[in-house]
Amino acid sequence: MARYRNVLLFAGVAMLFILTGVFQSWNLSLNILNLALLSAIMAIGVNIQWGYAGLFSTGIVGSVALGGLAVALVSSKPVPEGWAAGGPQIVEALLFAALAIGLATWLYRRLKPGANRALALALYLVVAFFIYRAILDPAVTAVEANNPAQAGNIGGLGFNSLLAWPVGALMAAAAAWIIGKIALGLREDYLAIATLGIAEIIVQVLRNEDWLARGVKNLIDLPRPWPVPKEVDLQVDPFFLDTVRAIGADPVTASTIFVKLLYATMFGLVLLLLVWGCERALNSPWGRTVRAIRDNEISAAAMGKDVKFRHLQIFIIGSAVVGLAGAMLTSMEGQLTPPSYLPLRFTFLIWVMVIVGGSGNNWGAILGGLLIGWLYLAVEFLGPQMMAILTSGLPAGPLKDHLQDTAAHMRLLTLGVVLLLVLRFAPKGLIPEK
């Protein structure tokens, strides 16, 4: 019965995409589907953290942004002049910073506790910071001076964008390791507060460090991941044109739809692979430990399970999955646009997906991702249309303008209300955990 219900739910969501295709356009529908699939992967990452360990992170947007950065660094065109101008020196500066922090931790452990240690370490860190800036700053200036209109960054490696996906996961995992080390094992709110901060910093770095990925000047024209072709190439490909002609479709529309279908297939495969992996993991001895900890942290700790270590593991794995999705997103969009990394879009929206879908259940997370993903993006065209119909009787004027403006803000309000209603009346979500 429950299985039947779940199939119905997924069929209902599929219907939404089909209706969008029929009444708006298939391009739009597939576009939303691809973004929704990526959201579903992010939702799986969050669900790993929340459903398996009860960890509440408000820094999902940070992992997404790191995934995006990975794509920029791995796949964007190399800028040899920019790299030569200061690339190695920037790496030196970062290495110096890592070493300095490493030495600080080592000193902290070795020195005797007390005010002297605190003072000495603080002084050491201040001096180290200025040395770091002295190495970094000239290099950054040199890199950014190189052809600022088109480049001004250190450039990428020029590898295939597909390769950037695991790199994105790794970068998000590394950030999660640092934050988890500090904030886990304390009050659970602290993780929420700390992740809020680190995500904000990551996004600010992406916005402001032009040498890294051109900041708000955006990095465009990133190459497609293997095996996705460019639409313009398809449109001159004789085999493709023959096939299209055989069906009797317009080659331009067909090429865009073909590309989107290809993305949808790739994303779908990754999604299924992740779910399969998650289910396998949950039924392994590791999964049993994890569930034991979740169900009763105190007794699990008493039985000698290292709760903090498991939580750290889960936090890292979940963040890595989100980072992977972030990399996939950037490599599909073909550009890195730091201003688009908004916490509302990439942190809280994903949370709504997880909670609505059914926390602790991967299929629930996917359903939530697809459903809320569709809603969120569909409101973009449905909202103004509905407002236009509602206000069609009004004379043109400030009131009408104001009402039509508010349509755009309705989205936030609706998301909030949906989240509150689900938490209150169906806290287990659409597909409850078994």
Binding site: G54, F56, T58, F129, R133, D137, I182, A183, L186, R187, E188, D189, Y190, A192, I193, A194, L196, G197, I198, E200, I201, Q204, R207, N208, P343, L344, F348, W351, I355, D405, T406, H409, M410, R411, L412, L413, T414, L415, G416, V417, L419, L420, L423, R424, P427
Partner: protein, 334 residues
């Protein structure tokens, strides 16, 4: 070597703005810490509660201005503030009634309530956007400067100006008055003591006949009023945009955690630590150093440790240091 000018520049760029910003943060962080100590969750909606209250203060200010009512040299917003506070209190009490009360009744885990508060944050943020939009709203009027930089230069004959904006002075005065009232209330009144008792030991407070719903109501009233005042002062000082209040969450949380979540005194001190750290780290010290060392020693650096874009990194680092070395905060807390 010009100590007087250096000192003036230091006052002008660090001390005056730090006191004003610290005061605004303190009023916000006090609300967060009060809610934490009584309702036992970190309220992510607090920043947007501030934005919500301020939005109404702005609407009332415009209304007063259209009626020709002003406060002379002081901003009209001060007259509108009581009305804004009432709306904010009504809003937080309604939210408590509709949303939070249920989770108290079922004794939900703190983290669930934190997630709920993010839902409330969405709703409030949406409301603020619908009421007043996302663009910058200027609602400051009256005399802009309490201490005019030109006047200061004329009086003292120093090269360096010192400016005190009216809004900065009001922020500090308001924070002092609010803190004095709050500490008097918590320490001396029966109701205030019952709040502390409830926050200290919920079960024993119940055994002593303290009515939890009353304590919760008073907490929301205080937090709502403080949020509205803090938001209005921040908006007056830095000009209002409904969406920037979300980014105040990080410094306010950092301030509350530094002082020890649940400790009002700690929240105030934490706020000033955060405010001054932010200014010291993001200030370009070139000017001040210029008065202290011969000019040819300086080179061409700005002597700025971090650009202002990274001010969130300052409060974050403070938070991290506290979590690493003293998770209970300076003043205990929970």
């Amino acid at each position: 070597m010009d100590l007087l000018n250096a000192l003036t520049a230091f006052l002008n760029f660090i001390v005056v703005p730090g006191l004003a910003y610290g005061s605004q943060l303190a009023l916000g962080a006090l609300g967060i810490t009060l809610i934490f100590s009584v309702l036992r969750f970190s309220n992510f909606a607090h920043g947007d509660t501030m934005a919500f209250g301020t939005a109404f203060v702005i609407l009332f200010t415009w209304w007063f201005q259209s009626l020709g009512i002003t406060a002379g040299p002081l901003p009209t917003a001060l007259l509108a503030l009581p009305l804004g506070i009432l709306v904010t209190i009504a809003m937080v009490l309604a939210t408590d009634r509709v949303v939070y009360r249920y989770y108290r009744k079922v004794r939900a885990k703190a983290i669930i309530v934190v997630i709920v508060s993010t839902g409330v944050m969405f709703v409030m943020n949406g409301l603020v956007r619908m009421i007043i939009g996302t663009s910058e709203r200027n609602f400051s009027d009256g005399a802009r400067m309490m201490l005019n930089p030109q006047d200061f230069k004329a009086w003292t004959g120093l090269a360096e100006p010192l400016a005190v904006k009216t809004t900065q002075a009001i922020s500090v005065v308001a924070a002092v008055l609010c803190c004095a009232f709050l500490f008097w209330f918590l320490q001396k009144t029966r109701t205030g003591k019952s709040m502390r008792a409830y926050s200290d030991n919920e079960d024993l407070a119940l055994l002593s006949g303290i009515n939890p719903e009353r304590v919760v109501t008073i907490t929301w009233i205080l937090a709502g009023a403080l949020a509205c005042i803090a938001g209005t002062l921040y908006g007056l000082d830095k000009s209002y945009r409904g969406i920037v209040y979300f980014s105040l969450l990080m410094p306010m949380f950092a301030a509350a955690v530094v002082g020890g979540l649940g400790s009002p005194l700690g929240a105030v001190i934490g706020s000033f630590i955060v405010a001054f750290s932010e200014l010291i780290v993001t200030n370009a010290w070139r000017k001040i150093f210029g008065y202290l060392v011969p000019p040819d020693w300086l080179g061409d650096g700005l002597y700025q440790a971090l650009s202002t874009d990274y001010k969130v990194a300052v409060s974050f680092s403070i938070l991290i240091l506290v979590l690493l070395f003293r998770p209970q905060g300076i003043f205990g807390g929970k």
